[in-house]
């Protein structure tokens, strides 16, 4: 009964999405007064749709929680012995369930636009809701027609086939929701862009409405990608954190463009310039999110993520993609010339630096796009089986990121409209000198490899430039400390968030550069053998059998020695999941916050020696600390009063307050 209720709710949501995508649009076209009644259907339909999708999602989750194996989806992806956490997260650990989650998040977003967007102009809100309704309609139709999660099977099987063991993991359990939140968040920016094109008007207020959505989506996407790479690091057991896998790239591309969009929306908000470009970016960002969904869901790219290998689904998503991207681009080509450009600026200015940021980010995105999709085209066009691997991406993305990161230090110090580059550079003199001294000492005394050294130097540059920016803004050292403190407290949150996020990129970069100098050792060990990796000495103490709720496995014991004393024990595991007939590697990681000691065991040869792989990864935890700080910077910025759409009056008062001069 519960699954049928869920299915029925999903169908009702589809109907409401249909209403939401047509009536408000018609109402908005009739004008503010005559169409008021039709426009008013938008918010109600959005909230109704949200409730029905939520009901449907909870019905599915309920079926998982009680292990109702009469539902095909539950039978295929769950098992009665699975821990409750993974039963629940298993709801979206499969194709059908993850589509319901996608639609749920989209419905929550449009519910939020309906609920919190009361101060938006009525026609703009109606049009935004209509565009969101269309996207929801497409995806609900897709879910119902090609991937119904509530399908029943008869006879009811005794037990399920279990979830892919790689997905039975806390990191991956929460990776999809964040990633989807990011993908779907870009849908809101997209809806605003389309609505603005239909309205034919983009102004500073539009920029202010779009920015919080983009920021929120960007934060979620950042966290989602970070969780995914953290999972790859500790679960796949290869010691790496980013493999330039097509599916990883599929999430990186929207991230790159969302980052660009975030920055160009500032220009629209402050200076009413770059309007057409920002609209195009919003459209492209969402298109890449859709493309990511297509690549992952259609199974054209093989990866752990490719649940669905059903060509019918691929064709459906491809059609959705064509309609959404094609439709919005046609709308863009038709309406964008009507948007009046405003706000002139000199090439050397804050706007100019943001243009450079956009240019380099968009170029990096284009390069990743080519590398990710070229094998697909090569196969279709020439029948050649080609892999584009990490060397390609390293050779193309790194050269683009170096100028981006250098400019990232300078950009925030430039004033709007017209700037003096030398004055900004003079303020960064100290930072530049420190970085130079560091680079010379590092190359001379520590490590001669160029790329990691460059990475560390840039990381330091970013952190110091962010610190300089902060110190300048609070006039540290030039006014009494108490006044500096008062100034720091008065800084707009948007500025603080930006400084934090920029410094966080530096921290993350330091972690990535640290991987470049990380030593590793693969060796055969018998119980009692001692080996070293980096500064550490480890003793292998043999293996033991262990048993888990739905798996069995072996556990190796490696004792960390310091001056002959036993300090800690690492227990890497190899697990075998009998239901799925699959084995997984569980790396054992001991972290000090500054470095990770990473151990994996492999198979045991006939003479009793076990393959042991050890990595010592200096600064590796910083990769994820940096990622979390980036998202935190975004959240701080999001909490800025001026961005809170619900507080227009206060915002106006604040604009008059003297503190606004701190910009």
């Amino acid at each position: 009964m519960i699954p049928e209720l869920g299915h029925f709710a999903l169908v009702l949501a589809l109907l409401l999405a249909g209403v939401q995508s047509i009536l408000p649009l018609v109402g908005a076209a009739q004008g503010e007064r005559r169409g008021a009644l039709l426009m008013a259907t938008g918010p109600s339909a959005a909230i109704g749709q949200m409730l029905f999708v939520a009901l449907s999602f909870f019905c599915l989750m309920w079926s998982y929680a009680v292990s109702d194996f009469s539902v095909a989806n539950v039978y295929q992806n769950s098992h009665s012995l699975k821990p409750m956490l993974y039963k629940l997260t298993g709801t979206w650990g499969n194709h059908e369930g993850s589509m319901v989650l996608w639609v749920l998040i989209l419905a929550l977003c449009s519910g939020a636009v309906a609920g919190f967007g009361q101060n938006l102009p009525a026609t703009l809100r109606a049009r935004v809701l209509a565009v969101l309704g269309m996207i929801a309609f497409g995806f609900l139709l897709f879910t119902l027609l090609t991937s119904n999660p509530f399908e029943r099977i008869w006879p009811v099987p005794e037990d399920g086939r279990d979830l892919n063991p790689l997905l039975q993991d806390p990191g991956l359990a929460f990776h999809p929701p964040f990633l989807y939140l990011g993908y779907v968040g870009t849908a809101v920016a997209f809806a605003f862009a389309c609505a603005a094109l239909i309205e034919g008007r983009v102004d500073a207020a539009w920029g202010r409405w779009v920015r919080p959505w983009t920021l929120a989506a960007w934060c979620a996407l950042t966290l989602g990608i970070g969780l995914g790479s953290w999972w790859a690091y500790y679960e796949l057991g290869w010691g790496g954190f980013w493999f330039w896998d097509p599916v990883e790239n599929a999430s990186l591309m929207p991230w790159l463009l969302a980052t660009a969009l975030l920055h160009s929306a500032i220009v629209v908000e402050k200076r009413e310039a770059l309007k057409v470009w920002t609209i195009l970016l919003a459209i492209l960002t969402f298109s890449l999110s859709l493309l990511g969904t297509f690549l992952v869901r259609s199974g054209v790219l093989n990866s752990v993520h490719a649940f669905a290998n059903d060509p019918k689904r691929g064709v459906f998503i491809l059609m959705l993609l064509a309609v959404a991207v094609g439709g919005s681009l046609i709308l863009f080509a038709w309406r964008a010339p009507a948007l009046e450009p405003k706000g002139l600026f000199a090439p050397i200015s804050r706007e100019g630096s943001l243009v450079l940021n956009n240019l380099l980010l968009a170029t990096s995105c284009a390069v990743v796009f080519v590398g990710t999709l070229y094998p697909l085209f090569a196969d279709l066009l020439f029948g050649a089986k080609i892999t584009v691997g990490p060397p390609f991406f390293n050779a193309t993305v790194f050269p683009l990121f170096v100028p981006l990161l250098v400019a990232m230090g300078v950009g925030p110090l430039l004033p709007w409209k017209r700037a003096d580059l030398w004055a900004a550079l003079a303020r960064l003199k100290l930072a530049a000198l420190v970085v130079l001294a560091f680079a010379v000492v590092w190359i001379a005394a520590v490590d001669r490899r160029l790329l990691p050294a460059l990475g560390f130097a840039l990381a330091l540059w970013l952190v110091l430039a962010a610190a300089t920016d902060f110190a300048d803004r609070v006039r540290l050292g030039r006014v009494p400390l108490a006044e500096s403190f008062a100034r720091a407290r008065g800084l707009p949150r948007g500025i603080v968030g930006g400084i934090v996020a920029h410094a966080a990129v530096g921290i993350c970069l330091a972690g990535i550069a640290g991987k470049g100098i990380a030593p590793e050792r693969i060796t055969l060990m018998r119980p009692g053998d001692v080996t070293t990796v980096g500064p550490h000495t480890l003793r292998f103490d043999g293996k033991a059998d262990i048993v888990g709720p739905n798996w069995r496995g072996t556990e190796g014991r490696l004792t960390l020695l310091r001056d002959g004393r036993e300090v800690a024990v690492l227990t890497p595991e190899r697990r075998f999941y009998p239901v799925q007939r699959m084995s997984t590697t569980e790396a054992s990681i001991r972290t000090s916050g500054l470095a990770d000691l990473y151990a994996v065991i492999g198979e045991t040869s006939e003479d009793g020696a076990t393959v042991v792989r050890l990595h010592w990864n200096p600064l590796a935890p910083w990769i994820w600390v940096g990622t979390v700080l980036m998202a935190l910077g975004g959240l701080i910025s999001l909490s800025d009063r001026r961005l809170r759409v619900g507080a227009p009056a206060r915002r106006r008062r604040e604009a008059l307050a003297p503190l606004a001069a701190a910009e």
Partner: protein, 173 residues
């Protein structure tokens, strides 16, 4: 600055961005595209040793041989077959969890002068019913899997003998 001047600047910058992206992509393509070859391709084509390529096929049953090298490392040697030809592959390191005799496998590495393949990476990270598309394609081309027919069931691969699979496995060198 006039609107025209600014437009010129932007067009120039975009051209620079696109140009550098194209140049970077093309140079990187030249060096880092990795082509896939099946064992029968390698028997016919003349691929110079030292170029990074990918090969793939089924791991021949009974061919996996583990030895300890003089430096105390575990070296694994096995044969990869597409049913028409086979190739000796050596690898040092930890094999993926799903590496098994009879299972589809893709390896990245380079040919050595003696005609065997030294893998730097072995990929077999899917569940056991999964067959890498390149391998499926290689099997089709070798005539062991007629297009249209269902793929050979993965469970049987574990007992698949080169002789039973139809082709006579021959050495490539």
């Amino acid at each position: 600055m006039t609107r025209k001047r600014r437009r010129l600047w932007i067009v120039l910058l975009c051209g620079l961005g696109l140009g550098s992206a194209a140049a970077l992509t093309l140079t990187a393509f030249e060096e880092s595209l990795v082509f896939f070859h099946s064992p029968s391709d390698l028997a016919v084509k003349n691929i110079p040793p030292g170029r990074t390529i990918r090969i793939g096929g089924l791991v021949e049953a009974g061919s996996v041989d583990r030895t300890t090298t003089t430096e105390g490392k575990l070296q694994i040697a096995f044969r990869v077959t597409d049913g028409a030809a086979s190739l000796r592959v050596t690898y040092t390191g930890i094999l993926p969890d799903l590496f098994r005799e009879g299972q589809g496998v893709v390896a990245e590495g380079m040919l050595t002068p003696d005609g065997s393949f030294r893998a730097t990476q072995v990929l077999a990270r899917h569940d056991e019913t999964y067959m890498p598309p390149e391998v499926a394609d290689a099997l089709k081309r070798a005539g062991h899997w007629q297009p249209g027919a269902p793929p050979p069931p993965a469970r049987d691969w574990n007992t698949l003998r080169p002789a039973a699979s139809g082709g006579t496995s021959r050495l490539t060198n």
